[in-house]
């Protein structure tokens, strides 16, 4: 055993967190990370404020999850609850997209776009803004409490809190008209759930981004564990090329004895800039979120001492093996396009096209019919047999539409509603359905005496230029069949 048995030696199994003070770094990957951060935060904070004109009958917020009215608006697309499979499809695409990204470029999601990464990064910038860079942060942390330290901690945590509050506040804007909700929120008129949501999200952002940081990735998040199962020797990861770097030695040593030491001068730059405090030279690990900041730092050092870049670099394990043997490095496109990425792309695109197809061909009208079962039928004084139905006409467009309801089948059958008297019963009826609404109708269908139980159709047709049809098959109950059965 390498270490003494913790049970026998009576030592604690609990490992305290090693604080991480990542050093500021600049380079292409850092700049890419900045761009992703600005893009993702921009999308998150600004999206609810985008407007989209849908006419007088629907909200003008571009992206709106209207839970109260059960509508989901996304720019030109409006989704009703029964069309929720679009959202499910998007979620499946997001999941497969994550698999695709992982199999092509490794943990890029973790390194650049995951909210935990983005907000942690943001908060680490706040640390540097208030406390200074790595060394200043370490000094301040170790220093006893003084007025300066209290001030700096107060300032830093206030900024954390402000960002967290803004984050929680932006979330609720997706669920109601943003300008109205903002006014309601500050005048105390918003729904209690709005305040609770903001409170919870403020707290989670403050704690997860401000204090827990890389522990979320290492201990809480299931995704790194799933990813370790998804990565193989063909996946791009951030790797330290040990055959080139080892054994480590200072520049002086190298001057004295060229050939005995590798390229790594053991400056610890890669560890100092790592947002999770990991030493990539120990090999791939769950702690490495592949943000590539160590590549930026190492390249900078290599350039300064006149050695070739890429001691730490994006590479697949297969490529590393080849390079170790002295073979020429493969182009990066080979790492991107292999069977697995192509299969994922295929599945991802197939679902995407299926959704697009469904979106393009979906009807914006529908009819749902529920039959009264108690009683199944009523005999009229004339001997006619009456069945009652609740018919719902769905107008999924943001404008009022004329629709025609028609009986198909049921010879001699006709119907009336609460709006037209039974003396005017007919086989078809034109209804004006209000914009973006489900219009319920009580429909009383009568058929001549002696009509046997049978099925028939309610046909719905939109009468405007756009058109559209829908139908619902229902049952007509009658005593005729019942008598035949009992005899």
């Amino acid at each position: 055993m390498l270490s003494p048995d913790p049970v026998k030696s009576n030592t604690s199994l609990y490992a305290k967190r090693e604080p991480v003070y990542p050093k500021a770094v600049d380079g292409p990957y850092r700049r890419f990370k900045w761009a992703v951060m600005i893009l993702t935060l921009g999308i998150y904070y600004i999206t609810p404020w985008l407007r989209w004109d849908r006419g007088p009958h629907a909200p003008d917020q571009a992206v709106l999850i209207d839970l109260a009215h059960r509508r989901f608006f996304m720019f030109g697309i409006e989704i009703w609850p029964h069309e929720f499979y679009f959202v499910a499809g998007l979620l499946i695409m997001a999941g497969i997209g994550l698999f695709l990204i992982t199999s092509a470029v490794g943990r890029a999601w973790c390194g650049y776009a995951c909210p935990q990464t983005v907000w942690t990064d943001l908060f680490q910038h706040v640390d540097r803004f208030v406390d200074g860079d790595r060394n200043a942060q370490m000094r301040l942390d170790a220093a006893p409490w003084s007025a300066n330290k209290v001030f700096k901690r107060g300032l830093k945590w206030s900024i954390y809190l402000a960002i967290s509050f803004w984050t929680g506040g932006a979330w609720i804007m997706y669920f109601a008209d943003a300008p109205t909700l903002t006014v309601d929120f500050w005048t105390g008129q918003a729904a209690p759930v709005a305040y609770a949501t903001v409170g919870v999200l403020t707290l989670t952002t403050f704690v997860l981004g401000g204090f827990m940081r890389e522990q979320v990735c290492v201990y809480m998040c299931p995704w790194p564990r799933i990813q370790t199962a998804m990565l193989d020797e063909k996946s791009l990861i951030v790797t330290y090329k040990d055959w080139r770097g080892e054994p480590r030695g200072s520049i002086k040593k190298a001057e004295k004895n060229p050939g005995a030491v590798g390229d790594c001068i053991d400056c610890n730059g890669c560890v100092n800039v790592c947002p999770t405090g990991y030493d990539i030279r120990n090999g791939p690990d769950i702690k490495c979120i592949t943000c590539a900041l160590c590549i930026d730092e190492c390249d900078k050092v290599m350039k300064a001492i006149g050695r070739p870049r890429g001691l730490i670099d994006y590479a697949t394990l297969e490529d590393c093996e080849a390079e170790r043997k002295g073979e020429a490095p493969r182009p990066i496109t080979k790492a991107l396009f292999h069977t697995r990425t192509l299969v994922y792309t295929g599945i991802w695109a197939a679902i995407g096209f299926a959704l697009l197809f469904a979106l393009g061909t979906r009807e914006r009208i529908d009819i749902k019919v529920q039959k009264d079962r108690n009683p199944p039928y009523t005999v009229q004084s004339s001997g006619e047999i009456r069945n009652d139905y609740t018919v719902k006409l769905l107008n999924m467009q943001a404008r009022p539409r004329d629709m025609q309801v028609r009986l198909e089948g049921l010879p001699g059958g006709k119907f009336w509603t609460n709006d037209i008297p039974r003396t005017q019963a007919a086989r078809e009826l034109t209804v004006k359905v209000p914009a973006d609404r489900v219009e319920p109708l009580r429909v009383y269908v009568v058929a001549p005496d002696g009509t046997a139980a049978q099925g028939f159709l309610f046909q719905l047709k939109a009468l405007d230029e756009e058109g559209g049809e829908a139908k619902a098959e229902v049952k007509f109950d009658s005593p005729v069949e019942a008598e035949e059965q009992t005899q």
């Binding site: 049970v7 009683p375 005999v379 009229q380 004084s381 001997g383 009456r386 039974r422 009580r442």
Partner: protein, 307 residues
């Protein structure tokens, strides 16, 4: 039992049992757990003081806050009534004929009526309001006493043959056979005639003999054409709806010994708004009649068949 010993590596005492060489350390409960237990004990003492808790000989302790589940229910009912106050005030202030045309109030009245119906009416009329033999079907357009909302409302208020309501509606059909007004043969002939009115019996000799006794005994209430008269609550005998059954046996039995169904009045039991809402609900079931057009509408003749 007494095999307690200090476990060497941990320095903790064992519980003293041993199963196939496996021993258990007697670790103390976590502190937060113990403290939570103490807190719940303290809480329970306070709880017993302010809420009803301890059983006594007759009742129980009432608790300082005076809470009771019955009291809570009463408060919730009051709060519910307060929520509905606006709607029920509006319904109370709206005349019946205006109510059925009010697009906002009518759905509320129907919903309220449906709830009251389930509580008070389903026992006889059935949960689907389709009635059964002897209990009128409220969904059809055949009405003994009229199907306008005002007619329905009047029936609801005062009932049918409700002895404790002076304004109750009563119809009197004699028991022709039982009281010896008609001979059994005449009852049989009258049955044939009555059934022939709705085409259920051929217009044969028996029916023609029955026509004479019908003219002598029945037309006063059921009318010369047998279509009934609503002011007497006399059912239409020419239609397809038979309250007490339309087979020869049943019609004959009804002539022999008359039925006298009873519906309680409700104005002494339910408040005015509830009765109004019930009327709106029954009216909305598919057979309601518009007041002016009612008598001329052929489909809405008269009377549930009640020979």
């Amino acid at each position: 039992m007494a095999n307690k010993r200090i476990d060497e590596p941990t320095g903790i005492e064992t519980v003293g049992h041993e199963w196939d060489g496996i021993e258990e350390l007697n670790n103390p409960l976590p502190r937060w757990w113990v403290w939570t237990t103490y807190m719940t004990i303290i809480f329970s003492i306070g709880y017993m003081i302010v809420y009803p808790a301890l059983p006594m000989l007759k009742s129980g302790t009432e608790g300082l806050w005076g809470w009771s589940s019955r009291g809570q229910l009463a408060e919730e009912m009051k709060a519910g009534a307060a929520l509905r106050k606006e709607a029920s005030d509006a319904i109370a202030a709206t005349p019946l004929e205006a109510l059925i045309k009010d697009e906002k109030l009518m759905p509320l009245a129907i919903a309220g009526g449906a709830a009251a119906f389930k509580q008070n009416c389903v026992q006889c009329h059935g949960s689907g309001a389709a009635g059964s033999e002897g209990y009128p079907n409220l969904k059809d357009e055949d009405w003994l006493w009229g199907g306008t909302i005002t007619d329905i409302h009047t029936t609801l208020e005062h009932g049918i043959r409700a002895s404790d309501y002076p304004q109750t509606r009563t119809s009197l059909m004699p028991s022709f056979g039982k009281d010896g007004i008609l001979t059994p043969a005449q009852v049989s002939d009258t049955t044939a005639y009555v059934l022939s009115l709705s085409g259920k019996h051929p217009n044969d000799a028996a029916a023609q003999r029955g026509a004479a006794s019908f003219a002598a005994n029945c037309v006063a209430c059921h009318g010369a054409d047998g279509k009934g008269l609503r002011q007497f609550g006399a059912p239409n005998l020419t239609d397809a709806v038979w309250l007490y059954g339309g087979t020869p046996d049943k019609v004959s039995a009804s002539i022999h010994k008359a039925h006298a169904g009873v519906m309680p009045g409700w104005s002494k039991k339910l408040d005015a708004v509830t009765i109004k809402m019930l009327a709106a609900y029954v009216y909305s079931l598919g057979g309601g009649e518009e007041s002016a057009a009612a008598p001329t509408t052929p489909a809405s003749g008269t009377g549930n068949a009640k020979p």
